[in-house]
């Protein structure tokens, strides 16, 4: 079945089986490999992208369900000249990543969160990112990054 979508402002199409997951459509059919697969069971959020500006786990959506959708992936966050999105910049400055595997999903979930709640408390950031797991950072610096991107820098934890 032909699946045409707009991704990061550009039109893409691929002929895929109805059972093709959106994440595989992105990675395997379109070569957009910035979106990672972590758990493959809807739990970890590594595959988070935006559909219509809202975060979704692309391992739990069929490509056919996204026909005609406006999709944003991590590849669409930085400007054309390479300028990082403020969320990416904040992750870099606050050391919000170590291995980086969860980071594309974290950035997508965090930007969706701020679009719904532009001035979250630290607790709201933690709750808002509950569907995104990180095996490295212990989350403190991720929360710090999101708070910094929201314009309310915080100090979290002793000595940080």
């Amino acid at each position: 079945m032909l699946v045409e979508t707009t991704i990061n402002g550009q039109t893409y199409s691929a002929d895929v089986e109805p059972r093709t997951l959106l994440v595989h459509y992105l990675r395997d059919h379109l070569g957009l490999t910035g979106t990672n697969v972590g758990c493959d069971t809807s739990s970890c959020g590594a595959c988070t992208i935006h559909i219509g500006g809202e975060s979704v786990k692309s391992c739990t959506v069929l490509a056919v369900q996204a026909r005609g959708a406006e999709i944003t992936t991590i590849e669409g966050m930085a400007g054309d000249d390479g300028t990082l999105h403020p969320m990416q910049q904040a992750f870099m400055e606050c050391h919000g990543l170590q291995c980086g595997y969860c980071t594309p999903g974290m950035v997508m979930a965090a930007t969706s969160l701020l679009s719904e709640n532009p001035n979250p408390t630290e607790a709201e950031v933690r709750e808002g990112l509950e569907g995104n797991l990180c095996r490295c950072t212990g989350y403190h610096n991720i929360v710090k990054s999101v708070m910094a991107a929201a314009g309310s820098p915080v100090t979290i934890g002793a000595g940080s």
Binding site: R19, T20, T41, V56
Partner: protein, 273 residues
């Protein structure tokens, strides 16, 4: 993990969905948000031959004031329920319970109709509609019918919906000012309830249980205790009467029975406070 192959049909209206269900019989499955069905299909626990996609249909995704009740379209996403000011004023329990489902990305996709039609005893929204005494509207080839929430959940992942029926609307009685509480007990962020209890106090009190048997259920014995003049302790002691809680990695039946009692106490204390 990739689902087994299936044929995909998009339904652009309720009637088209019913026609597709009628045509394909028990081979066919409706898909709304897909957030229960796709995980099951990836594990090959469900292998429907035909998917009828109702998730892209226009309509059935609004929350409307209908005088004595609020009507919620079956395709309304959890996030819309969670952010509805109308529900916040008239049925705050439902708004709150929607916010306890999974995580925000799940709530952007999952629908209230899918959550109820799935009939999972571990899910949150069935408990809310049971405690609120909601009415569900289903449409099939023979027309529309109303089903009381208390008659809807018939077995493990089974509901009163026939194979060729679609859930279209959920009607929740207005209850501004009623006391309410939702106690969801879990150990990890974004997780399902190990046990949950919903309570609504509006003159009389209704209580429902999450993950305490094969279906979402009312806590009838605890309700009888509290509505019969008993104390909160009496109701808490009767919390699991008539329930048949599962044993699993999260806890055995005895632990769940204990949790139900603790959570009924907390729920009643909050709802009557």
């Amino acid at each position: 993990m990739i689902p087994a192959a299936f044929d995909y049909v998009e339904a652009e209206s309720v009637d088209a969905a019913i026609a597709a269900l009628t045509e394909h019989g028990d081979e066919a499955k409706l898909m709304a948000g897909g957030h229960s069905l796709i995980p099951l299909m990836k594990f090959r626990l469900a292998t429907p031959g035909v998917i009828v996609d109702i998730g892209r249909m226009e309509g059935l995704n609004s929350i409307d004031d209908r005088g004595d009740h609020i009507a919620i379209g079956a395709l309304t996403r959890h996030m819309s329920v969670e952010t509805s000011e109308l529900l916040g004023a008239e049925a705050p329990l439902l708004k709150h319970v929607a916010s306890q489902v999974g995580d925000p990305s799940v709530r952007h996709r999952g629908t209230i109709g899918g959550s109820l039609a799935h009939g999972d005893p571990a899910s949150d929204l069935p408990a809310a509609i049971l405690a609120l005494g909601a009415t569900l509207v289903a449409k099939g080839p023979g027309g529309e019918r109303e089903i009381a929430a208390t008659d809807f959940f018939t077995g493990f992942l089974e509901t009163a919906l026939a194979d060729d029926e679609m859930l279209t609307e959920i009607r929740v009685p207005k209850m501004a000012g009623a006391g309410w509480s939702y106690q969801k007990f879990n150990r990890r962020a974004q997780d399902w309830a190990i046990v949950g209890v919903a309570a609504v106090s509006n003159g009389s009190t209704s209580l429902s249980l999450v993950n305490m048997g094969p279906t979402p259920m009312r806590a009838s014995a605890a309700e009888a205790a509290i509505n019969g003049g008993g104390s909160i302790d009496d109701a808490a002691a009767a919390a699991a009467d008539g329930a048949s809680p599962p044993d699993d990695l999260n806890g055995d039946a005895a632990y769940r029975t204990h949790l139900a009692s603790v959570l009924v106490r907390r729920a009643l204390t909050e709802a009557q406070g």
